[in-house]
Symmetry: C2
Subunit: 424 residues, 2 copies
């Protein structure tokens, strides 16, 4: 397999995509019950194959250690019994979610007599490109299947043995429900050319969703001829407004930064109204320094917080993904929103305020996928939003913004009901 | 201007896009009334400048004739008094449409106490690339403005004098309403490199919508680094089902083909159930031949209709855009849907049927932007669907499918209303 020529790999990917398209047509016709049965059967089958899965994972882990992969990657790669349990629970939870497909909205009668509405439909064939976590195989496949899409999965090559066992259980679950196993296919070759081939299959692959670090996503976006739903930076802001409740402001600003450092919805820059800075920044600084967070501030911040270093121009656009926070004192809500428009990444921004009109302005005028009033940015998450599960978080502006759940894996087509109408 | 270097053109396009972004931020904050006032003022101003517009158009026409452009193009380029009236009416009609922006749906309280919903918001900066019709300048700009987007317009260079007058009236209308005139900008250079530069402005231009022939759209899709909403082929089908009302079947099948030949929602292939072929094809063939439509059929069709020639494999995927129709006799609805899946372009398909279950199967399983029961495919149109106006028809599967109106020029962001909630 590893010695395949580019033409062979392209042919293999085309064959997979054609099989996925055929399976996606069957899914269009499938009952909700059949798709749910497939998910539940896959969970049962995977439970029966726990031992084989653990052995496959041990093989992946051994190989990863031999290749000197770092400890963070080894951690993500490992499937502990608890993680396998979570994966099985996840499959069953997705089965229990409402079916997004088939809903019709806004059906209206037109002067011609036709009735026109929009029906929610699957996208078709979804490619998912991800890194070392094997549980993504089950998560992504189950969300695609539930929403009536066929999935082509490309996990990290270091997880290939684990992913193969999981994908086979999904395909076998489909067979139990009388559905085409090609609705869940795993790319088996480790050759990177397979990704390039997948990204070029216009008309066969309806969307590719990359999950991983920025370099992966940029590379895929650059190369793709098919549509991509992508997640770039999370340079999230909290703005503490003039007159905000001080306890609430401190609680949210501390939680948004320190709850977890490595997540995309973590605050990276704190903006604070000039009238609140002198009172709030010292206690905030103490909380951050106690938590081990390094502060980089504007000149006004540094004047109030001696422990802060002066931020450079680059700091304002940084996604630190670690215990560093940039802090900027702003004149008013307009300055805060201008700062966000200039340096933000359109991911998640929050205002802490007691003022009604400013809360409404912030909600309306801040152009981010998630905009919050008086809540921690850490809530920007599919589970917290009630999507049941998420296949990723989009920073695109078209199609789906923010956490992408089942609805983001669907689109809407027009349906027209007539009684013989013709255009005159 | 025509002698500008590529670097100068890129700099000019960046400057335009930055001005558009600033204007789009102002539009985010703008009241519905202000945007409507701008549209009405633009209509008034353009009315006052009718003479200047007619003179500019005469200049474009003269130059086009000197360049030996064909008569179809000259017809599209010409702004008759009636066409100017239509353009002014169009501006006023768009002002009268409901504002799509700001609507919040599905606001729900989560277990954490936060309330989460989705707010409809403008896309931001929209590029429109179109051909010779100058009225598109007003249509496209008004739809963008109404939906809170800044527009960068690139019309056909043969219409530059006309477009300049129209775009100036739009910008002056914006000024009357106290809005930034940079919300509507026309690319003034005739240099084609301007389009390439626009298509590369990732992060500054949110979407480009090309309107025109297939070659324009393919070139733009291939080149674009920014998202594109596009319209490719309209290979539309009508399927006459077993037991369909014969009069209705004939009326729809004739209307879908002969109402207009050059439109994308015109039927290009007729599918007919084998049990209906012998009875219906002769009268259908007579109607088509009377209208001057050439028939290309499968072997079974040719056996029934001696006037039809045998269709080649290429015919099934052809968008004739003229008085030619391919006809295929199929075994049943499954064969019909398989034919559509294989040869269709996902634009518009209709079934003529009396059978409830088959009508529902067709609606659900046919993966096209518009799917119809007992209605002519010619209804696939923004005005017929009640969108008020359309900026184009999308054959994409993400974001917007089918006729794209104001809603297609918007997206949804998450809004979160808290009372101090933090993640625990």
């Amino acid at each position: 397999m590893n010695a395949a020529t580019p033409a062979e790999i392209l042919a293999e990917m085309r064959t997979m995509a054609l099989a996925a398209r055929a399976a996606s047509r069957q899914l269009l016709a499938s009952a909700t019950d059949a798709r749910n049965q497939a998910l539940l059967a896959a969970a049962d089958i995977l439970h029966e194959r726990r031992e084989a899965l653990s052995e496959a994972n041990a093989l992946d882990m051994q190989r990863a250690r031999e290749n000197d992969l770092d400890s963070a990657l080894l951690d993500r790669l490992e499937l502990t019994p608890a993680r396998i349990d979570d994966m099985l629970d996840g499959l069953r939870q997705v089965a229990a979610l409402p079916d997004p497909v088939g809903a019709i909205r806004d059906m209206r009668t037109r002067p011609s007599g036709i009735r026109v509405g929009k029906m929610r439909v699957p996208l078709g064939v979804v490619g998912i490109i991800y890194e070392s976590r094997p549980n993504v195989t089950a998560d992504a496949a189950s969300l695609c299947l539930k929403s009536g899409n066929a999935a082509i999965l490309r996990g990290g090559s270091e997880a290939l043995h684990s992913n193969t066992v999981i994908a086979a259980a999904m395909a076998d679950g489909l067979a139990v429900a009388g559905l085409d196993g090609a609705a869940v296919q795993l790319i088996q070759t480790r050759d990177r050319a397979a990704v390039g081939a997948l990204l070029g299959l216009e008309g066969l692959v309806d969307v590719v969703i990359p999950r991983g670090g920025r370099s992966l996503i940029e590379r895929i976006s650059k190369e793709a001829r098919v549509p991509v739903i992508k997640h770039l930076d999370g340079v999230c802001h909290v703005y503490i407004d003039d007159g905000a409740d001080p306890d609430m402001a401190v609680a949210i600003a501390v939680n948004a930064k320190t709850h977890r450092y490595g997540t995309c919805n973590t605050m990276e820059t704190l903006l604070i109204h000039q009238k609140e800075a002198a009172q709030l920044l010292p206690s905030l600084a103490k909380a951050y320094l106690d938590a081990g967070v390094e502060l980089r501030g504007c000149a006004r911040t540094v004047a109030i917080v001696p422990g802060a270093s002066l931020a450079t121009q680059e700091d304002w656009g940084m996604e630190y993904l670690g215990p560093i926070l940039s802090v900027c004192v702003v004149d008013d809500i307009d300055s805060a929103m201008a700062h966000i428009a200039r340096y933000g990444s359109g991911h998640t921004e929050a205002i802490v305020t007691s003022d009604y009109l400013r809360s409404q302005r912030f909600l309306r005028e801040v152009d981010s996928a998630s905009v919050m009033v008086n809540a921690s940015t850490r809530f920007a998450d599919g589970f917290e939003y009630g999507l049941g599960a998420e296949i990723g978080i989009s920073t695109d502006k078209l199609h789906a913004r923010g956490p992408v759940g089942l609805e983001g894996l669907t689109s809407e087509k027009y349906v027209v009901l007539g009684e013989g109408q013709i255009r005159s």
